[in-house]
């Protein structure tokens, strides 16, 4: 049997395992192991299993993941999100839909320290939804917005998705972080425009809240200063080459810890919870990477990525159309499989083609991150919608109805970013050439 035929069978096996309900990381390891045994031999596949798990778990490079997740979990447990939301509320709460727009502003700030999307959705579901309920906001608007803003962490540094992409593709994490800033702000802007337009059309969706006094507004600015300081320390340190990504994650976690302790928002119990929660998330991500590494070695021996690159490259289509096909594959794949998992699975297959077409891997990282953002809130596997439903007790269907208008805005941003790579590449090209 040819390698291509074995490759096709193993991919069918992989999707069969996914649909049985086996953990995605485990399924990739099993399919990769069986495929490698079929192509090489069982003894080599046994060795591969042990070596890949050992090398992923002991790699210094991967230690960046638990440390950046820890930074976000400490921030989430230590009341940083509440402080930012309070500030946004003081400035924007009095305009129609202002509490929802304030949620976007606060979440954008919070993303500067927290790279986990479901963690942000859960945090703001706890902080912002009760406040919006108090002012009679429609559940579609409040819960849909909270589920959507959580996705900003995929793009705004320090994004776990960008870190994983950087590790998989051996692309500079510092350049990826810088590349994510303007597109992240663009998408946050699209959320604001969507909310403002929606509330102008139907003001009953988001009634205006109380107007805060200027002294109260100024007093609420403190958390922004601290978050900005930590963000500059982490991203600036990485950019200037003072820190490795792991060091940036450690220093950022320690700085957020000191900040929350100084503000008396952190207790030993909360800290322990943040550490254990961070480990749970990081273990999930690293299990996916370990599974994808085993699968990736199978891809290498069967030359599947090169075959895909040759086939798609030989279709005699403009490179932009090929890029649209790749984006569609990520979008459809990410709608059925968890998005980060699909990114980890698909990127090694498509990256050689992307490079062959002459695209910048940093720009491609931004594009797949935006697609991942859309996938996180696109049914049927919309993790953030499930998280917000779990925290607020709102039916998932109601949350989906609040998400759809935002997806439209994100799709427009995706097209702009596809057409104008300079939006993503200007910051890294200017500061990290």
């Amino acid at each position: 049997m040819s390698h291509a035929a074995i490759g096709g069978l193993v991919i069918c096996l992989l999707f069969g395992l996914f649909s049985l309900g086996i953990e995605i990381g485990f399924a990739m390891a099993i399919a990769g192991f069986i495929g490698f045994a079929a192509v090489v031999n069982t003894h080599a596949a046994m060795n591969l299993l042990a070596k890949d798990v050992f090398s992923v778990l002991t790699s210094y490079g991967f230690t960046v993941i638990p440390l950046f997740v820890l930074m976000g979990q400490i921030g989430a447990s230590g009341g940083v999100a509440r402080g930012l939301y309070d500030c946004a509320y003081r400035f924007l709460g009095h305009i129609p839909g202002g509490l929802a727009i304030g949620t976007v502003a606060a979440a954008t700030g919070f993303k500067a320290i927290c790279g986990s999307s479901p963690a942000t959705a859960a945090t703001f579901a706890t902080v912002a939804v009760p406040e919006m309920d108090r002012y009679g906001y429609d559940k579609r608007l409040s819960c849909g917005t909270v589920a959507t803003v959580g996705t900003l962490g995929v793009l705004i540094p320090p994004s776990v998705t960008l870190i994983v992409y950087g590790i998989l593709t051996e692309t500079s994490i510092g350049r990826l972080f810088l590349a994510g800033i303007i597109p992240g702000l663009l998408i946050a802007g699209s959320f604001v425009v969507t909310l403002y337009t929606w509330c102008r059309i139907n003001p009953a969706l988001g009634p205006a809240g109380e107007r805060s006094s200027w002294p109260a507004r100024l007093r609420s600015l403190g958390p922004i200063f601290w978050v900005l300081l930590v963000f500059l320390l982490v991203v600036g340190g990485l950019m200037k080459g003072f820190f490795t990504p792991t060091e940036a994650g450690s220093v950022g976690s320690f700085a957020v810890l000191l900040l929350t302790v100084a503000k008396r928002d952190m207790t030993p119990r909360r800290f322990a919870k943040a550490v254990l929660d961070a480990l749970r998330i990081a273990t999930m991500v690293i299990t996916l990477i370990a599974g994808a590494t085993i699968m990736g070695h199978f891809f290498v021996v069967t030359r599947i990525p090169a075959t895909v690159a040759d086939w798609l490259g030989g279709l005699d289509l403009p490179r932009f159309v090929i890029m649209l096909i790749i984006v569609a594959v990520y979008l459809i794949g990410g709608s059925f499989i968890e998005d980060l998992a699909f990114l980890i699975l698909a990127t090694p297959i498509f990256l050689p083609l992307v490079l062959k077409l002459g695209y910048d891997p940093v720009w491609f990282g931004v594009i797949v991150s935006v697609v991942t953002m859309i996938g996180i809130i696109l049914p049927p596997v919309a993790i953030n919608a499930f998280v917000v439903a779990g925290v607020t007790g709102t039916p998932v269907g109601t949350i989906y109805r609040g998400i759809y208008p935002h997806i439209l805005g994100m799709a427009v941003c995706l097209i702009i970013l596809l057409l104008v790579p300079g939006i993503s590449l200007w910051l890294p090209d200017t500061f990290m050439q």
């Binding site: 991967f62 999930m284 968890e338």
Partner: protein, 161 residues
């Protein structure tokens, strides 16, 4: 004497390992921050990368069993969710058996790899930390993960929340 369910028997073990992993994560953060600070005084801690890599393996490896018990791994369950209870439980048990088999294989091969590393005396270059201990540590974590998945299978529990 009352019989203890297998899932209840593995829970304390998984929890203890998770806490040990947590200590390793905090250790990684503190060692790295100390190294960054001391480096600015031209006195870096020797072998920080090695130590952090070691602690990272303990942090993640030892958290595997608890992550499974907490249903923290990602999977596709929108097809299996629609099954009636009895076939759903049978399918869940099957997925646990397959998962347990995978981790049994990984643990077995990691123990063998550790034995090889011990024989060759493989160590990290600066701190001379023996690699075989790490391989055996991860193998132990994978063996416990195998027990967790097997116990979940016996309890008719799947990987989904």
């Amino acid at each position: 004497m009352p019989r203890v369910k297998p899932i209840e028997a593995v829970r304390p073990l998984a929890r203890g390992m998770h806490w040990a992993g947590g200590a390793a994560l905090v250790g990684m953060m503190l060692v790295t921050v100390a190294d960054v600070v001391l480096r600015s005084f031209k006195a870096p801690i020797t072998g920080t990368y090695e130590l952090v890599g070691f602690l990272g393996a303990v942090a993640i490896g030892f958290s595997l069993p608890q992550t499974s018990l907490d249903k923290g791994q990602v999977l596709m369950d929108f097809l299996t969710r629609r099954l009636p209870p009895a076939p759903g439980r049978a399918l869940s048990a099957l997925t646990r058996v397959i998962g347990a088999g995978l981790f049994a294989l990984i643990a077995w091969n990691l123990f063998a790899m550790g034995a090889d590393l011990r024989r060759t005396g493989d160590m990290t270059p600066l701190l001379h930390l023996p690699h075989f201990l790490l391989a055996w540590g991860i193998a132990t974590a994978c063996a416990v993960e195998c027990l967790v998945l097997a116990a979940e299978g016996l309890a008719g529990d799947g990987g989904a929340r």
